[in-house]
């Protein structure tokens, strides 16, 4: 009992120390200017051209990720030419003070404002209308923090799954050991409880690889997002672009799997009077899109909300400028983090489950 008590207090100290280490930049920022919680959180859950490790926001330790621009041919350079560029402060018409980073070296002629790259106008500046610059933007294909996290997560999934596949290749169909032993029940769960349970038993086979891929992609990237320091911490699965793409994949699979029965239910709903049939057409058509749209919003909102809650709880310390608040905020943040581990799995499961449900409805044969 006492041992457990000692252990948990040790754990609290570690967590506290770690969180202090991670959020040190904001502590310093708080000393310098008024600490803006909203801005800090937004900065953290949004994409960036650098992968911040420690230290203050400007001049701290960061990994500067490559910038790739398409603007009359491709341009490659490190993002440090923005972050170590010239900081420009302007005041717009509404007397708002705005900062942006003007690129130097190979980044000359571009500016970085709120992680967006703009082309400088003829006067060599950004022209603000309200809070947004009205300058042209080059096509930004940079390896941002999310792209780097995406590559890393995908590589991790690939390594894990190829290791598991290698085990079976080497040992044949034997009882699994090691990594295969851990992952096989999850793979079988996706096959049986997600695919087989929702899709016709003669047709589910060809959807299993897709469902497995989205499940593990979401789950592992969710877990990576929960790690507060590099190589985790990117809010990848809480990024609307990622969830949009995944939901779009499910939409494509559903639409291209749809059989006569499925389209029949959309364009000429059986079993109701003709005026109702006509009335139902637009509703059913919208329904095709609302289902994946819900998938997109659900994953985005859940993961982003998780990140926001953890950051907000930690921010209590910096809002109050008193380290004693850590006694409240750290246990709460720890609790939410543990909850997020569950959510990480649950969201992957739900996404795959609902995708299977939509596909199942699309390939279902008429049975009346």
């Amino acid at each position: 009992m006492q041992q457990a008590g000692k252990f948990s207090s040790l754990l609290q100290i570690i967590v506290f120390a770690l969180s202090f280490f991670v959020f040190q930049p904001f502590a310093k920022a708080a000393e310098e200017e008024n600490f803006n919680v909203g801005e800090m959180i937004m900065h953290h859950i949004k994409d960036a051209h650098e992968w911040h490790i420690t230290g203050p926001e400007h001049g701290g330790t960061s990994i500067y990720l490559p910038v790739i621009l398409h603007d009359n041919g491709f341009k490659f350079f490190s993002s440090k030419y923005f972050y170590h560029g010239k900081e420009v402060t302007v005041t717009n018409k509404d007397s708002l003070t705005l900062h942006y980073m003007e690129g130097v070296g190979p980044a000359k002629g571009y500016a970085l404002y709120h992680e967006e790259i703009y082309k400088l106008n003829n006067e060599g500046a950004l022209h603000f209308e309200g809070e947004h610059p009205h300058n042209a933007s080059p096509t930004d294909l940079s390896v941002t923090k999310n792209v780097a996290s995406l590559l890393l997560g995908s590589l991790l999934i690939l390594i894990i799954m190829l290791t598991v596949a290698g085990f079976y290749r080497k040992n044949g169909a034997v009882a699994p050991k090691g990594l295969a032993k851990f992952l096989e029940p999850i793979i079988v769960m996706v096959r049986d409880d997600i695919a087989k349970a929702n899709i016709d038993k003669h047709k589910y086979h060809k959807y299993v690889p897709y469902l497995l891929t989205i499940f593990f992609f979401i789950w592992i990237n969710n877990m990576l997002g929960l790690i507060p320091i590099i190589p985790g911490g990117a809010n990848l699965t809480g990024n609307i672009t990622i969830t949009l793409f995944l939901a779009f994949c499910t939409l494509l699979v559903t639409v291209f799997s749809g059989n006569k029965n499925y389209w029949g239910h959309i364009f000429w709903m059986p079993g109701i009077p003709v005026p109702m049939k006509i009335f139902m057409i637009p509703i059913e058509l919208i329904g095709i899109f609302t289902k994946p749209f819900a998938l997109m919003i659900r994953l985005f909102a859940n993961i982003t909300a998780g990140h926001i809650i953890v950051l907000a709880l930690i921010s209590i310390i910096f809002i109050n400028k008193n380290i004693a608040w850590a006694g409240l905020s750290v246990p709460m943040a720890l609790f939410i983090s543990v909850l997020e581990i569950l959510v990480a799995f649950l969201q992957g499961f739900l996404f795959a489950m609902l995708s299977a449900l939509f596909i199942g409805a699309a390939v279902e044969e008429a049975h009346h």
Partner: protein, 164 residues
């Protein structure tokens, strides 16, 4: 606002990476893994089925063995019973035969005794007869040794005849 607006660059990267990941996983991971799992599941279900079948076979075999054993036991009992009966019969037979034989022996002994007795009696009779004759001869001779005696006898005999 840009939190809920998709980013073109990230979308391109996601499409590229996810498609590649999907392709590689489907070809090099999911296919061998699912194949191995399916094969093993099939193997296990086959093994279970076989075990069930073997069990049923064993049960049938055991029942058959029991039946054979039961029959063998019954047969053994039957044989024993018969053997006992046969032995008893043989003893009875032997007893009867011995009795008969003894009776025969006794009978033949009696017959022999009787015949011997008869023979002896006959011999005795003959002997007695010859003895009697000898005595009679001697007596007669003695009686008839003188004329006087012959006359007396004749007279006596004549007298006896008269009396008759």
């Amino acid at each position: 606002m840009d939190l809920i607006l998709p980013d073109f660059g990230l979308l391109v990267w996601t499409g590229l990476v996810f498609s590649l990941l999907m392709f590689l996983l489907a070809k090099f991971a999911w296919k061998p893994i699912l194949n191995a799992v399916n094969t093993r599941e099939q193997k296990i279900s086959e093994a279970l089925e076989l075990a069930e079948k073997t069990k049923a076979e064993m049960q049938a075999l055991k029942a058959e063995n029991d039946q054979i054993l039961k029959e063998a036991r019954a047969e053994r009992d039957q044989i024993l019973k018969e053997a006992k009966e046969a032995a008893l019969g043989m003893v009875e037979d032997a007893k009867g035969k011995a009795k008969d034989e003894a009776a025969k022996v006794v009978e033949s002994a009696r017959l022999t005794i009787n015949s011997e007795k008869a023979a002896a009696m006959a011999e005795l009779k003959n002997h007695v007869a010859s003895l009697s004759l000898e005595i009679a001869e001697k007596v007669v001779r003695h009686e008839l040794s003188s004329d006087d005696k012959q006359k007396a006898l004749a007279t006596q005999l004549a007298g006896e005849i008269k009396m008759n």
